[in-house]
Amino acid sequence: MPAVFDAPGIDYHAFAPEIVLVTTLVLLLFVDLVFEERGRWASSTVAGIGLLAAVVPVLTLAVDGADRSLFAGAYAVDNFALVLKALFLVAGYVTVLISTDYVAEGDYYEGEYYFMLVSSLLGMTVMASARDLVSIFVALELLSIPAYLLAGWRKRDLRGNEASLKYYLLGVFASAVMLYGMSLVFGVSGSTLLSDVGEALSRGAESQPLITVGIVFIVVGFAFKVSAVPFHTWAPDTYQGAPTPITAFLSVASKAAGFVALVQLVFIGFLGREDVWAPMFWVLTALTMTVGNLIALRQTNVVRLLAYSSVAQAGFMLAPFAVAADIPADRGGVGAATGALVTYLLIYAGMNLGAFAVVMAVARRTRSAEIDAFRGLFGYAPALAVLMVIFVFALAGIPPLAGWYAKLVVFKTLLDAGSVAAVTLAVVAAVNSVIALFYYASVARAMVMESPADAGSGRVRVPASLGAALGICALATLAFGAFPGLIAELGDLALLGVLP
C-alpha cells in the first residue's frame, strides 16, 4: 500500500542551535572565500561567535523547559539534549580559543579548519537529540568524518598522517561493525525509532542471538568512540599525532558524543535487555580503568599520558552503564545513572581541556610534550605550573578540585545499585583512582620538584585566547570543586525526556 507523504511540521525553535551552526558554517565558507589571506584572523572569530550564538537558543529552550519531539520522535529536544548541546558548544568554543594561535602560527588552511570543527560540532549537537537509529548514524558520521580530517591536519607531518589514518580506518571499521549490528537490531524490531526498538527488543525473546549480536556490535561501535579498552588502541596514537587542539577536542567533545549516543541507545533502545549489556559494560568498565591506568604509568609523553588517562577516565564514565539496571526505580533508575554520567562529562570536559591547554602553552616554548620538557616549569612559569597542577590533580580526583565530585557521583551510583557486582566494581574503581594518582603526580613532580632541563628558561608568553581558555577551565574546575551543587543540578536535570 502506498504511503501518503505528509510534510512533517518543523519546530524551528527546537532546531535553532543547529540552524545557527549551519549559518556559521556558511559564513566561514564565505569569509574564507572573500578575504583569503587577510581573513586569517576572521575565521576563528566567526567560529567562536557562531558557537556562542548557538548557545543562546539552547538557553532559551532551557528556559522554555518543555520537552519537544520532532519527526515522530526521531529527534527530541529535552533537558538531556540541551545540557549536552551546551556542553558541546562550550567545549567547541574553548577548542576554538586554544586553536586560534596554534593554527594561525602554523601554515595550515584556517577556513577549512574551523569549518571542519564546527561541522563536527554540528554532528554532536544533532547526536544529542537523535532518538532514531538513522539519525544517530548520520550524526555519528557527521561528527566523525571532519574529525578524521582534522586529526591529519598537519599534512606534511608523518605522525599527523599516521594519526589520521589510524583514526580513520578504525573509525570506519568500527562504524561498519556498528551498522551491521544496527541492521540486525532493525531486523528484529522492524523500526528505527529507539522507543519502538526498546519495546520490540524487550518483547523479542525469540531471535535472541540476533539481538545479542546486534546490541554487542552497536555498543562496540560507540565503545570505540569513547575509547574503551579494548577498542582504545587508536586513541594514544591519534592523540599524539593530531594537532593538540584537536586532541583536546577529540578527548572531550567526541568522547562525550559517544557517551551521548550510548545513553540514548542503551537507556531507550535496549532498556529491556540489560541481561545483554550490563555484563558487557561491567567488563568494559573494569578493563578500561585498569588497563588505561596501568599503561599510563609508563608514559613519558604528556599528551600520550593524557590520552591514556582519558581512557581510564572513560572507564569511570562507563561504570554507570554497568550498574544502571540495578538501581531501584524509586532512586531514579537509569535516570540516576544518566545523571552521574552527565555530571562526570561536564566536569571532565573542564579539567581535560584545561590540561591540554597548558600542554599547548608549554609546548609553545619547549616545542615538545615530553614530560622532561615540563621539568622546572614552576621555576620559570609558576602560573602555568599551578594551573597544570590544578588540572592534573582534578583529573586524579583530589578535593577540592572538581574531579573529586565526578568520582564521587560514580561511586555513589555504584553503591546505589548495591549489588555485589556493583560494589566489586566500586572497589576496583577505588584502587584505580589511587593508581591514577601516581602518574598525575609524576607530571606535577616534574614541574614543581625538579629543576629545568635547560638552564636559560625565559618566561612563556601565553596568547590572550589561550589565556582565556585556561581561565575558563580553571574557573570551572575550582568552582565545581568547591560548589559541586552547580554542576550536580545540571547532571540531575539531564534526564531523557518522555518520548511519544
Binding site: V138, I145, N161, Y168, L169, Y180, S183, G187
Partner: protein
C-alpha cells in the same frame, strides 16, 4: 526461510569484508573491504525490513540509502588520507605506518 539466505549472504559478505580489512596490506583494498561490510549491512537492512512488513520495508530502504550515501563520503575521505600517506612515504603499505606505539 527465504530471509535466512539473505542473512547468511550478509553474514558471508561481512566476514569477507572483515577479513579484507584485517588481512590486506594495501590501503586501497582495505577501503574496498570496508565497502563490502557496508554492503552486507545494506542487504540486511533491505531483507529484514521487508520481512517486517511494508512500513519497515520503507524504513529499511531509506536507511540503506543513507548508508550508501555516507559510505561514499567516507571512502572519499579515506582515499584522500591514503593519498596523503602515499605522498609522504611513497607507499600505501599499512604495516609501514607505525611511528607511534607503546
Amino acid at each position: 526461510m527465504l530471509v535466512n539466505q539473505f542473512l547468511i549472504l550478509g553474514a558471508v559478505l561481512f566476514c569477507i569484508g572483515v577479513y579484507g580489512v584485517l588481512a590486506r596490506r594495501n590501503g586501497v583494498l582495505v577501503l574496498m573491504s570496508i565497502e563490502l561490510i557496508l554492503n552486507a549491512v545494506n542487504i540486511n537492512l533491505v531483507a529484514l525490513g521487508s520481512l517486517q512488513g511494508p512500513e519497515a520495508a520503507v524504513a529499511g530502504q531509506v536507511f540503506t540509502l543513507f548508508v550508501v550515501t555516507i559510505a561514499a563520503a567516507e571512502v572519499g575521505v579515506g582515499l584522500a588520507i591514503v593519498l596523503l600517506i602515499y605522498r609522504n612515504r611513497a607507499s600505501v603499505d599499512l604495516d609501514e605506518v607505525d611511528l607511534m606505539k607503546g
